[in-house]
Amino acid sequence: MNSSALESISRRKGRSAQLHVPGEAATWVFIFGDLIVFAVFFIKYFVDRQREASLFAESQSSLSLSFGAVNTVLLLTGSLFVALGVHATRSGYYRRASVLFAVAMACAAIFLIDKVIEYTHKISAGIYPSTNDFYNFYFMFTGFHAVHVIIGLAFVGRMRQMVTRAGDKKVDLRFIETGASFWHLVDLLWIILFPVLYIIH
């Protein structure tokens, strides 16, 4: 067993003094920045909800919890496959990583299709972002989040391309981890968005 493998093992068990930052450090500045932005959104939503509680509750009841829950599981599954893909990449199993990333991309694509279906349902029922304060939040939050999903999908697409084309050369693991971290952020944000928008009343 060579030294880099040992290093990897002790790093995984957290025993090494040199802990590992997944991806570029700058990505984490962005991740926490995004978390703060969404925290402010959530707080504003809760404050406005208090003022118009019954309006919010009534509008919220038109949302499909099933769509929301399925979308949550889709992103969670995407995260699983991205995490597995990162491990496969580290181990040199590039072809496996390519397939794993492809599955994650499929999860993202289905999420986006679901989103389009949801929005279409709303709009054909005459519900727009301007309809009331709740729907304004709903469209803006989920729309802003959907943009994140699209970016995440592009990231994983690039990651898949890298491992597919690597051949015998080593891939840029830092980039792979950066993309993976962004993906998990997208998952993470929806994990909060779903109960806040769809369930809590």
Binding site: N2, S8, L19, I36, I43, A69, H87, G92, I191, V196
Partner: protein, 96 residues
């Protein structure tokens, strides 16, 4: 190419699958509370549970999927601070 021993040594941890299963189960639980329209639980308790579970899920994603367990402690601390801080603030507003 990486040699066989090194490859086997850096296999994906089985915990990833368990964490995914737990996250999915927690999602199903939240959905059930959501469609149950309160049911047995007092509304405020149901909200605390659903929101608390959501932040717990964020923590799990951070620790296991984002590999924060093996990252510098600062990252874990910052995420935990966000999780706890936002949960407390939101519940505070909700209960006010």
């Amino acid at each position: 190419m990486v040699d066989r021993d090194a490859r086997d040594a850096v296999r994906a941890p089985a915990s990833l699958y368990w964490v995914w299963a737990l996250l999915t189960a927690l999602t199903l639980l939240s959905w059930m509370v959501g469609v149950g329209e309160g049911g047995v639980l007092d509304l405020r308790v149901a909200t605390a549970v659903v929101l608390g579970v959501a932040f717990l899920k964020v923590d799990l994603v951070g620790r296991h999927f984002m590999e924060l367990r093996t990252a510098p402690r600062l990252l874990r601390i910052l995420l935990d601070a966000w999780v706890i801080g936002v949960f407390v603030i939101l519940m505070g507003i909700y209960l006010s």
